[in-house]
Each structure stands twice: as C-alpha cells, then as structure tokens.
C-alpha cells in the first residue's frame, strides 16, 4: 500500500543544489531566447519598463535598510569603542604638535638656526623663548612640554620645570625700574589704557586673532578673537612685542581666570617687551592715552640696567646656554614626528636623522622578538595539546562529548586573574609542584626548580589559558568531517595511520588554522598573565606598552608600539592568507 521512505538525511529525493547548477549551466548553453524582457542588445527590463537592475535595487533597498537598522547599535558601539580609539592611537603615535603649540615663536625663530654649527642660537631665539615660556608657565603647560622633551633628552623635564619658576625674576627687576620712573607702570589700568588706545581707534584684529589661537591651545578652551581684548592698531604697529605680550596676557586673564585685565596686576613679561620695543620705536609722535607716561619712559630708558635674554636664561639655568636643549627642541618641533616609531624600534631622532639608541636603552626590538617567538611557542603547544582533545571530542558520543566540552570551557568561567594566580601558586619555588618534586626526592630542597618569573612560567600559564581558543575551532571543524571519510579510506586499504594522516588530518587543517590565528593573535597582545608570572624575562611587548601608558606616560611611544604590534599581526595575517589561504579557515 505504501512505500516506506527513509527518514535519515541524505535519503531525500530532492535533487542536490549541484545538480540544479549543472542543469542551469546546461540550459544557458542552449540558444534559448530569454522568455521576458528587452531586445537582446539593451539592458534587461522589468515588466513595467524600468531597467531590471534598478527595479531589483529598489526591491532590495527596504531589506538592506532594515538589516542596517538591526546592526546599527552594534555598528555605533564598535565605531565608538573600537574604531575611534584605534584611530586615535594610530594618530597619537605620530602626533607631536605640543612643541609648536607651546613654543610657537621659538620654533619659528629656531628654524633658521644651524644646529650643526655647535653654537648657541642667536638672541631672538632666547627672546621668543622667554615670551613663549612665560605664558606657557602661566598656563602650566611648560611642564608637559618638558616631559615630552625628556623622552628625547634626559634632564629636559627638570630644566623646564625650574625655568618656569625663575622666569619671573627678569621681569621683576625691570618692573622695579619702571615703577621708579612712574608708579602707574605697575597698575593694570594704566597698561590697559595704553594698549587699548583711544576708544574709537581701529583695533589690531590680526594680533588679537593670532594670540587667541595661541592662548586657546594652551588653556585648551576655544576662544573667539572678537570677544577678547584687541590692542589698538597704532600701538600694535608702534610696540609690536608689547602688544603681542599684552594681548596674550589679557586673553589669558579673560578666558582662563575670568578677570578683567584692567583690574589685574600686569605680568612681568610686559616690561622686557616694552623695553625691547622702545629700542626701535619712536614714541615721541604718539598721542594716544598714556602717551606721556610712555614718552617719559622712553626718555629714561637709558637709566634702566638691561641684560640680554641670553644672559637672563644663563642666569636661570646654565643648561640653556649649551646647544643641546635647543637642538632637541628644533629636532622635535615638527607637528608630525617619526620619533615615537624610531624609539619603538630602539632608535631615536637626532638633528642628523635617525640613529641607534645607546646600547643600554635597546630593549624593545628584543621584546618584540621575544613576544613573537613566545607566541609561536604557545601556539605550537596549544596545537599539540589541543588536537587530541578536539579529536576525542568530535568522535565521542554526544553525551560524553558534552561533558568533556564543559571541562574545556570550565576555565572560561573562572576569572583570568584567578587562573593566572593559581599558576603562580603551582609554579613558584615554594609552590605545589616543587613541593611535590622535593617530597618525591626528585629535586633537592636547595635546588628547587625555577618555573616562574621566567619564560617557562609565561608559556605554561598562557598555553593553559589560551587552550580553549584552540580546541573550540578545531572541534567545530572536526565535527563537520563525516566518519565516512575515514571509513572510505580504510575500505580502500589505508591503515589507521594513513587514513588519519592522508584523509582526516588535511580536512582538519582549517580548524588548526583558525585556532592558531586566534591563539597567536591573542597571545601576541597578552598582558595580565605575562605581567603576573613573567617576571622580567617573560614579559611581552604589551607589558611595555602598559608601562608607557600608566607609568612613564609616554603615550606616543605606547601608541607607536601598539601600532607596530597591529601592523605585525596584520602582516602575519596577510602572509597566512598568502600561504594557507584565509578561505581555508573555518570556525565551524
């Protein structure tokens, strides 16, 4: 009455997709005119006459939009939490605008200085440095610059910090002298009137704009130049240096402190600036507010004892009157620098170009090598340990396999820190393994094995921690290899070993590939485990990155190291793709 059909897979009567493909190919070979659509030379048209491609795109648009909406939250999350930070990191590894931003005029003046001549920079450099540094010191950003330059030349940090403090001395002496000539010189109001000029006088917008930019970067707040102080055009032409210094001061008071510059004590920079301007300016014709005070000062100028800026810096710190710090500033004045990358490969940027770091500072290349070699060793031991387990898992009955799989996954449910610390307990010299060996008499008590705080410890702990990442892809690939392949091989006369090696193993390679990539990439950037069990000999490059991020605060170098690590991983991935083919990688 009825035919009984099999219910198992593969017994379906339906044609396989392959057959359909071949039939389709056979069909297209025949010279059958298309049943619908346009004359054979035009584009295919839909029923309503629009091009079929357009019509199809319209039909798919809604679907695509919906799909995009579904992934939008993840996309945004990834963008914000992953892509943007990586982009920032990449940028930070070359970014170097701190020098040019903190010392804008100095950098300009230094551009013309020949550092190779082994002479001090000329007086204008010291002069520009004085004014740049003064306002930087007010904004407290000179120490940041000092820290930055200290990466390149030791001692720069303290030089900048101490100089910032002593910078006032020069101005104070002049201030006293000014005050002796006219008491109003120490009053903010008088300065304000002098610099502002007449109420309806034209303003020097360019000076205001330039200083707004300068101050804004220093205090890290946007400044609209039209809201701030602007000197009168006449004063700016007559006393350019003073106008510049005063505008910067006024804006700083306005926007950083929220004060009115007219009511505040003027900065000490104004006095040397004015003296410097009066050397060339002829103020006798000036008729603006406080013209009298200015003219009196100009007349009495000769009585004030003046010293050059170079001498002033020499007084502040002897280190300023050698060429070295200036060379460093000049070398690293560019906004984009290869310096961090050079540092990351044990080199440094000198005025003469890239040069090797001194021997005792060469550590990063060795760390990179160690990281790569140890990651490969860890990957290898994961393959060796993981393959038999994955094979067992894939070939056991489902129930047993599930129990074993839980054991494999168990480490995932334990904190990484706990697992690593457990290895510490196991491996240390007074630890479980050593105790057992001593108790068994295999190792003498005084010569306990050193298994931790070295490479061995890192390899053991990381192999254990990364093993599931190797087993799982291998397992999922092996699960898809039907047992009939090995059976077929055996029925064809292959021994167990031949059947495994020639038939099973090649098909499990994609799983090994996937696991290896996963483990290797995880290992190469691992941080916590090497930090805890690696000691000094077993640490990875990532530990160095962490050190620069959190301790030395050299984020540029950390970013360069991270970028190199990323590049190395991408390069290896590319090589892998070329050699093995990324299509051969399966995660299940």
């Amino acid at each position: 009455m009825s035919t009984i059909r099999g219910t198992g897979p593969g017994t379906a009567d339906a044609p396989s997709p392959d057959d359909a493909l071949h039939e389709a190919a056979a069909l297209s070979d025949r010279d059958v005119p298309p049943p619908h659509g346009a004359p054979s030379d035009g584009p295919m048209l839909a029923a309503d006459g629009t091009p079929l491609k357009k019509s199809l795109a319209r039909a798919l648009r809604l679907q695509k939009t919906r799909a995009l909406m579904l992934i939008a939250p993840l996309l945004i999350f990834v963008l914000i939490s992953f892509i943007v930070p990586i982009g920032q990191m990449l940028w930070r590894s070359v970014e170097n605008d701190i020098v040019a931003q903190t010392l804008p005029h100095t950098v300009q003046e230094l551009a013309g200085w020949d550092s190779a001549a082994n002479e001090l920079p000329p007086e204008p450099v010291f002069e520009a440095m004085y004014f740049d540094m003064f306002i930087a010191a007010e904004a407290k950003s000179h120490t940041k610059l000092g820290t930055r330059l200290n990466y390149e030349q030791t001692g720069m940090s303290s030089l900048f910090r101490q100089s910032g403090r002593k910078l006032d001395d020069l101005g104070k002496d002049y201030q006293k002298a000014f005050k002796a000539i006219d008491g109003d010189w120490s009053k903010g109001e008088a300065w304000f009137e002098l610099m502002s000029g007449a109420a309806d006088a034209p303003r020097a917008a360019d000076v205001a704009a330039a200083q707004a930019r300068n101050v804004a970067t220093l205090i890290d707040t946007p400044i609209a130049a039209r809201d701030g102080f602007a000197p009168s055009q006449e004063i700016a032409d007559l006393l350019p240096l003073t106008a510049r210094a005063y505008t910067a001061m006024a804006m700083f008071m306005q926007f950083e402190d929220g004060d009115d510059p007219a009511g505040e004590k003027p900065w000490e920079t104004l006095y040397p600036a004015l003296l410097r301007d009066l050397e060339t300016a002829d103020v006798s014709a000036y008729a603006g507010p406080r013209a009298g005070m200015l003219q009196t000062l100009a007349a009495a100028r000769g009585d004030i004892e003046q010293i050059s800026f170079t001498d002033a810096f020499a007084e502040i710190d002897e280190d300023w009157v050698v060429a070295e710090p200036w060379r460093t500033i000049q070398t690293h004045a560019r906004n984009v620098t290869p310096g961090y990358f050079l540092n990351a490969v044990d080199m440094r940027l000198t005025p003469d170009g890239a040069a090797a770091q001194p021997e005792d500072k060469q550590i990063l290349i060795r760390l990179f090598q160690r990281t790569l070699v140890m990651s490969l060793v860890i990957m290898g031991s994961c393959i060796l340990l993981g393959y038999p387990i994955a094979y067992l898992l894939a070939n056991l009955p489902m129930r047993t396999a599930n129990i074993l799989l839980i054991l494999v996954l168990l480490p995932f449910w334990t904190s990484l820190l706990v697992r690593t610390s457990a290895w510490k307990v196991m491996l240390q010299q007074q630890g479980v393994i050593n105790d057992t060996l001593v108790w068994l008499g295999l190792v003498a008590d005084e010569s306990r094995l050193v298994m931790i705080n070295n490479q061995f410890g890192t390899i053991v702990a990381m192999t254990h921690i990364l093993l599931p990442f190797m087993i799982l892809p291998m397992y999922s690939v092996m699960q898809t290899i039907p047992p009939s392949y090995v059976r077929a091989a055996k029925s064809l006369g292959a021994t167990n070993w031949t059947a495994f090696w020639r038939v099973y193993f090649p098909q499990s390679v994609p799983g090994i590939g996937a696991g290896s990539i996963l483990v290797f990439i995880l290992a190469i950037g691992y941080y916590i485990t090497p930090e805890i069990v690696g000691g000094t000999k077993g640490v990875f490059i990532s530990n160095r990155i962490a050190y620069h991020i959190s301790s030395s605060l050299n984020w540029g170098l950390a970013a360069a190291l991270g970028t190199i690590l990323l590049a190395v991983v991408l390069l290896l991935y590319w090589c892998y793709d070329k050699i093995v083919g990324i299509d051969n990688v399966k995660l299940g």
């Binding site: 009455m1 044609p15 077929a488 029925s491 021994t495």
Partner: protein, 366 residues
Amino acid sequence: MASTGTDGAFVEFDRVQKSYDGETLVVKDLNLSLPRGEFLTMLGPSGSGKTTCLMMLAGFETATHGDIRLGGVSINNIPPHKRGIGMVFQNYALFPHMTVAENLSFPLEVRKMNKSEREAKVQRALDMVQMGAFGGRRPAQLSGGQQQRIALARALVFEAELVLMDEPLGALDKQLREHMQFEIKAIADNLGITVVYVTHDQTEALTMSDRVAVFNDGVIQQLDPPDTLYEAPKNSFVAQFIGENNTLMGTVTKMNGEIAEVTLDDGEVIDTVPVNVGAVGDRTLVSIRPERVEFNKDRLQPDAHTVHAEVMEFIYMGDIYRTRLKVAGNDNFIVKTRNAPDQRRLQAGEKLEIGWRPQDCRALDA
C-alpha cells in the same frame, strides 16, 4: 539466477547477531550466503538492520555473535583495510582535498603500486564510468551524479571482488537515479563483481538485483529474486513493503488443498492461495496487487469470485488509471488499469463488481 547453496558461497553470514547496547538485537540470527558474481540487495525500512549488516561485512562494526566469511575465510578479526572490499558510501565520501584522480589513485598508492601503473588504472576506471576528462577536478566541482560515478570508480579501481554500496543513489534526483541504476548494474555485470547493495527504495531493489533480501526488525523476511518477491510475497510485511498492495481482513473458512476459502469481514467469500495461514478459523490478511484486479466481467475467469465495490475516487495518471474503491469495509482499495483505448473511466459513486484470479490473491498472516 545464482544458487543459494552454502557450497562455493563467496560471502557468508553464519548465525550473525549484533547488539549495540547489550539489551536489544539489531540483527537477529542472520544467515545469508551469496555466490561470486551475484548482485544482492538488502532492502528494508530504516532501522531494520540492513546497514548494520553491511557495516559488519565491511569491518566497521563487529558481530556480537556468529561468523562472517569471505571466500571461505572468517573475516571477523580482519581489520577493514585488509579485507579488500570496495565500498560506495551514501554521501560518496570522496576526499574533498584531493582531485578526482588523486581520489582514485589513493587505494593504489596505499597498495604501493608504481606511478605509471597507477595512472593507467585510474584512467581505465574513469573511462569505465565515462568520466575520463574529469581527473583534474575537485569533488566539489562535480554534480551529484558525477560524484556518484567517481565514488563507484574508486571502489572498483583496486579490483575488489566484492563491492558494498550503502544507498549510493539516495541523494540523486529521480531521473538521474534511474539512469544510474542501469549503469551500476551494467558495470557490475561486465566486471563480474559481487555486489551487496543496501537501499530502502524498493524500485531500485527490484530493477537492479539478482536477489533481494527484505529486512525487517533485524530479520530477513524473504530472500528471493525480484519477480518472486513481488508476485509471491511470503508474509504480509513483504507484501506491503514491496510494491503497492491491497489488503482485506478475513477469516479462513475452508481449506481446500491449493485453495483456501476466506470469508471477508463484511461476509463476502473469496478464494485465495494459502501462503502463511494455518487452519480453518485463523484470521488472515488477504493481499491482491492493484493491477491484478479486474472489473470488466468479460476478462474475468468464469469461476472467479467477485466482490461488491463502490468507486470512491478516480485518478488519471497518464499511463494508468488509478481508482480508489471501497471493498469489504476497506475504502483504500486501489485498482490500477492501463490507459488503453477501450478502457472505461469509472465515476465516483459508481457501484460495481470486481474480481481477480484466485492465484493472484494470497492469504497471509494477519
């Protein structure tokens, strides 16, 4: 037709039992012998034990009890790779990482054959299945039918005398399957190899085999050539499993030598051939093939019993008419008639008398 004697048997199952869990027997007391050159099909529903038998023969399962002999030698303790049995798997099991030629060359390589000899044999095997030009392809680049041919060629390339096939055509579409049935049969006959073929498709079994072993519940229900199997099923399972079959329930009321009189449940009396019934008073299941039922009185033998029937449904199927009738309480009684020019098309609701030759009507176990 091959003899069924034990003498000179090539493959022999001797009281073979198989249990996986130690509680139930999947194969119960299997005795089977087939001579060299026979094409034997194991047919049965899933779980009937046919595949287990094949796997025991191939060496992938061990018999719990009993002896399997190949050419007179017990192979119970010989590992699969030393049995020299060719095998074609349901999913073909072509090694995906090797080309077609490498697949075929594999059994020759493990037999340490030299390269030129290997190439010659591979080419010969490929030509045999008309795939000579496909040696450089990967299995994934072939259609299902082509893969099937390659799998067949691979099982034959090392000149195995016994080839096992485990539902090899299961994944093909109907047309291709029918084509391959003839092809496999022709190749097997040409080479004179012994084939044990497992399928659940009875048409396949009938068209290809010298003999068919119908499996159910771990036991061979009947082992006979296809025509005998179809026309003279030994029990109701075989009758119902092979081909389409009408069944009527009744009681044996008279035993008359070669003829048993059966009273159907609605009181009608018919003559049957007793096959699997004991004595008068036993319940029986009467089996009649749909194409042996006649409603044209002129074609009936004069002495034949007739029964009353009512047409439930008429289905036009092209080459045949298929009419569903209600007979003796069974409203699923099928009659198949050839679409001949003089053939009448019955109408639903029509009442008529139908009949058949008594020898076409078999009284089987209830």
